[in-house]
C-alpha cells in the first residue's frame, strides 16, 4: 500500500488493512497455535518487525519526522487488537519501541530523536533496559551504578541485572547515579549506551522457562559520549517516571487479545483429543473456561478506558497498574488451567495436541514472571492503595 494512502486510513478501514496485511504477510512457522510452528530466529524477527513497521503497524503514534506514522492511540489500539488475535512472537525490541522511544520523544534533543527513533522502528537498533540492580529491584532509588564526568562525556561503572535481551541489543537505556547513594531519587540520569562500548560485559542468565533472554550486565568505566546522555541529571529520571506511568498502561496493548487467542487455542486443541474433548463437556472445567473468558473481557475493560482518557487528554493516573495487575494474575490462572487440562490428554496425542502442550507449558512458566516484572504484584497493590484509593499512611 502507498504510504500516503495508509496514513489516511481510520477506524474500521485501518482495521481491515491491518487484518489483511497480517494474514497475507505472516511468515510460515511464525504462529504458535499452528501445526507448522517453529520458533523464529532473531534475523527472521528483525525482518518481520521491520516489515510490520513499513505496513503501518509499529511506531503508529510516533511523529512521521522520526519514522513514525503520526496516528492516534486509537489506531495503535486497533493494530494491537489485530496483532493480538494472532499467536505471533513477542517483539524482540519492545524496550526500544515501548520504553526508550517514548522517553526519547519526551526528553530527547532533536538530534537524538532523529538518530535513535528511526533505527528502533527499522529494527537496526535493539534496546535493552538497564534499570534493576542486585541491590535495587523494586526499590530503584537504591541503585548504585555511577556516572562520573569525563570531559564533556561520562564514565559508567556498576552492574545491572534482569536486563532482557542484553546479548542481542545495540543500545542500553541505562539509569545511573551522578551523586552520592544517599541522594536516593536525586541525581539519577538516563543514558543511551552503545552495547559495543569498551568495558561492557554481558553474562546471560538461564531462566525457569529454559531461555536465556535476560542477563547481568557489568559496566567497567564505560565511556559515554555527551550526545548519548538523555536529559540532564534529575530531568531524565523525572521524565522517565512520567512516561513509565503511561507506558505501563499502553505497552503490549495487544495482551488481552493474545490472551483470547490462547484461550481459543486451548479449546481447539482439546476438541482434537478424545480425552480432552470429554473435559469440554464437564461442568467444572466449563465454569473455569467461562471465568477465563470473563477475565479477558475485564482486561479489555481496563485497556479501552485508558485509550479513551488519553485521547481526551485526561490524566490516567495509576490506571496502568490496574490493567497490569489484573492481566498478570488472570493470565497465571489461565495458564494453570491450560496446564491442568492438557495434562489429561490421551497418551497417543496428535502432533497438534502435543504442540499445544508445549506452547502452554512455556506460557505457564513464562507467566511466573508476569507478576514480577514491570513492578511486582505487591508494588502494584501499593500503587493502587497510595495513588488510586489515596489511603492515608497515618501514624
Amino acid at each position: 500500500m502507498m504510504d500516503g494512502a495508509l496514513h489516511d486510513l481510520t477506524g474500521e478501514a485501518f482495521r481491515a488493512h491491518a487484518r489483511h496485511w497480517l494474514a497475507a504477510n505472516v511468515p510460515p512457522g511464525f504462529l504458535a497455535d499452528q501445526p507448522d510452528y517453529a520458533p523464529p530466529a532473531l534475523a527472521q524477527c528483525l525482518a518481520w518487525e521491520a516489515a510490520m513497521h513499513r505496513a503501518g503497524l509499529a511506531g503508529i503514534t510516533w511523529p512521521r519526522a522520526y519514522g513514525g506514522h503520526g496516528r492516534t492511540l486509537r489506531e495503535h489500539l486497533i493494530a494491537n487488537q489485530e496483532i493480538g488475535r494472532l499467536a505471533l512472537p513477542e517483539s524482540v525490541n519492545s524496550i526500544g519501541k515501548e520504553l526508550a522511544g517514548p522517553i526519547i520523544l519526551a526528553i530527547g534533543t532533536e538530534a537524538q530523536k532523529r538518530r535513535y527513533l528511526p533505527a528502533i522502528l527499522e529494527m537496526r537498533e535493539i534496546w535493552c533496559q538497564g534499570f534493576s540492580e542486585p541491590e535495587a529491584g523494586s526499590d530503584l532509588a537504591a541503585l548504585r551504578t555511577r556516572a562520573v564526568r569525563d570531559g564533556d562525556g561520562w564514565r559508567i561503572t556498576g552492574q545491572k541485572i534482569w536486563t532482557s535481551g542484553a546479548a542481542k541489543s545495540q543500545r542500553c537505556l541505562l539509569l545511573a547515579r551522578t551523586g552520592p547513594l544517599e541522594d536516593r531519587h536525586k541525581g539519577l540520569a538516563l543514558f543511551a549506551v552503545p552495547m559495543d562500548s569498551p568495558g561492557i560485559r554481558v553474562r546471560p542468565i538461564r531462566q525457569i522457562n529454559d531461555k536465556e533472554s535476560f542477563a547481568e550486565v557489568f559496566f567497567d568505566a564505560v565511556p559515554v559520549a555527551p550526545e548519548d546522555a538523555l536529559g540532564a541529571p534529575d530531568e531524565g529520571w523525572n521524565a522517565a517516571i512520567r512516561v513509565l506511568a503511561i507506558e505501563r498502561a499502553t505497552n503490549r496493548m495487544y495482551r488481552a487479545w493474545r490472551f483470547e487467542n490462547e484461550l481459543r487455542h486451548l479449546v481447539s486443541a482439546c476438541r482434537q483429543d478424545p480425552a480432552l474433548a470429554a473435559l469440554l463437556q464437564d461442568g467444572a472445567w466449563r465454569q473455569r473456561l467461562a471465568a477465563t473468558r470473563v477475565d479477558i473481557e475485564m482486561v479489555k475493560g481496563h485497556v479501552e478506558p485508558v485509550v479513551e482518557a488519553l485521547l481526551a487528554g485526561e490524566p490516567i493516573g495509576a490506571r496502568g497498574s490496574l490493567m497490569k495487575l489484573h492481566w498478570s494474575e488472570a493470565h497465571q490462572r489461565f495458564a494453570a488451567l491450560a496446564l491442568e487440562m492438557l495434562a489429561l490428554a490421551s497418551p497417543d496425542a496428535t502432533p497438534a495436541v502435543t504442540a499445544a502442550q508445549k506452547r502452554f507449558q512455556d506460557i505457564y512458566l513464562s507467566a511466573r514472571a508476569e507478576t514480577i516484572y514491570a513492578g511486582t504484584t505487591e508494588i502494584q497493590l501499593a500503587i493502587i492503595a497510595d495513588r488510586v484509593l489515596q489511603l492515608p499512611r497515618g501514624k
Partner: protein, 324 residues
C-alpha cells in the same frame, strides 16, 4: 456510537439520579414510584409516546448504579425494563408505570406453562405490583397481579424482597415473543451489572472510611499493609467491573452479546467478593445489622441469583467451545 444523545451525556444523569434515590430514603414503595416518576426517571429508556425520555439504554445505567449505591427500596430495574418493552404491546401499562401510577415486577426464575399455570419466582416486590411479567417457554406474558397468588419466599435481600408467584390460568394483558423476551433479558444483564457496581462501590467506600478512621495498635487500620492490599484488590475488581460495563455500552464488536454477558458476570463474580471483603474490613462491626454493608451484600447476591450467573457462565462456555 455517539457519546452524546440530544446534547445529553449519561454522566449528567448520575448526579440527578443520586439525588432522586436519596430523596426516596424512608419512603414507601408507592411514594418512591411517585418521586422517581416526578423526575422522569422511570421512563428513561422508554419511547416518548408513552411518556418516556426515549434515551438509549446506557442512559439508564447511572440511574441503576445510583439505586445500587443508595440501596433504593424499589424494583427500579424491572420498572425501567417494563416501561421500555411494554410500550408497544401494552402502551397504557407502560405509561402508568412511567407516571408512577402503577407498579410492576418481573419473575426472573422459572418458566410458566403456556396455559398460564405453574409457579415462578424471584419477582422483586411482587406483592406491591399491579402487573407481573412471567416467562413462558417461548417468550413472556404480562399478567395482572389480581389474577395471581403471591407469597413470600426465601429472600436474601430485605430491601427489595423477592416473592414467589403462582399462576392459575386466565388471560394475559399481553405477550412478548421469544425474541422480545431475549432482548429484555439481555438488557437486564447490563442493568444488573450497574446496580451491583453501585452497591459494591458503596461497600468499598464504607470499608475505606472505616479502615481510615478506626485506630488499633496506635495507628489507623489502613496504615497496615495487609489492609491496604485488601482494599487495593477490591478497587482493582471494582474498576474491572466498571470497565466491562463501559465496554458493553460502547462496543460495536461482533461479539456484543458476549460483552454484555461478561459485564454481568464480572459484576456477579467480583461484586459479592467486594462486599464480603468490606464486611471483613469492618471487623466485628461488619457483622452487626446496624452497619449496612450487609444490605449491599444481600442486594448483590440477589441480583447474582436473578441473573442466574452460574447458568450464564455455562452459556458463555458453550459459545466458546462451539466457536473453536
Amino acid at each position: 456510537m455517539d457519546a452524546i444523545q440530544g446534547g445529553l451525556d449519561p454522566r449528567d444523569f448520575a448526579a440527578s439520579a443520586a439525588r432522586a434515590v436519596a430523596a426516596c430514603e424512608g419512603l414507601d414503595e408507592a411514594a418512591c414510584a411517585a418521586r422517581l416518576a416526578q423526575d422522569g426517571l422511570l421512563g428513561v429508556a422508554a419511547p416518548e409516546v408513552v411518556g418516556g425520555l426515549a434515551l438509549e439504554l446506557r442512559f439508564a445505567l447511572p440511574l441503576l448504579q445510583a439505586a445500587g449505591a443508595g440501596d433504593l427500596a424499589f424494583p427500579l430495574l424491572e420498572t425501567v425494563l417494563l416501561a421500555r418493552h411494554l410500550a408497544a404491546p401494552a402502551p397504557e401499562v407502560a405509561a402508568a408505570l412511567i407516571a408512577g401510577e402503577a407498579r410492576g415486577s418481573i419473575a426472573w426464575a422459572g418458566i410458566a406453562r403456556d396455559d398460564l399455570t405453574g409457579v415462578v419466582g424471584r419477582a422483586p416486590m411482587a406483592q406491591g405490583a399491579d402487573w407481573i411479567l412471567v416467562r413462558l417457554a417461548d417468550g413472556a406474558a404480562l399478567l395482572p397481579a389480581t389474577a395471581l397468588a403471591i407469597a413470600d419466599s426465601v429472600t436474601l435481600d430485605e430491601t427489595v424482597p423477592e416473592q414467589r408467584v403462582t399462576l392459575s390460568g386466565g388471560a394475559p394483558c399481553c405477550q412478548l415473543d421469544g425474541a422480545a423476551w431475549a432482548a429484555l433479558a439481555e438488557e437486564a444483564l447490563l442493568l444488573r451489572a450497574a446496580v451491583i457496581l453501585g452497591a459494591a462501590e458503596t461497600a468499598l467506600v464504607m470499608a475505606v472510611e472505616h479502615a481510615t478512621n478506626r485506630r488499633q495498635f496506635g495507628k489507623p487500620l489502613v496504615a497496615n499493609q495487609a489492609m491496604r492490599h485488601l482494599l487495593a484488590r477490591q478497587k482493582l475488581a471494582l474498576e474491572g467491573m466498571r470497565g466491562c460495563i463501559a465496554r458493553a455500552t460502547s462496543c460495536e464488536e461482533e461479539d456484543a452479546v458476549l460483552v454484555r454477558q461478561a459485564a454481568f458476570l464480572a459484576a456477579a463474580t467480583h461484586g459479592p467478593l467486594i462486599a464480603e471483603a468490606a464486611i471483613q474490613a469492618h471487623g466485628g462491626m461488619g457483622f452487626t445489622w446496624e452497619v449496612p454493608v450487609h444490605r449491599h451484600l444481600r442486594r448483590i447476591r440477589a441480583l447474582e441469583a436473578q441473573g442466574e450467573a452460574a447458568r450464564l457462565r455455562e452459556a458463555v462456555a458453550a459459545a466458546l467451545i462451539d466457536a473453536n
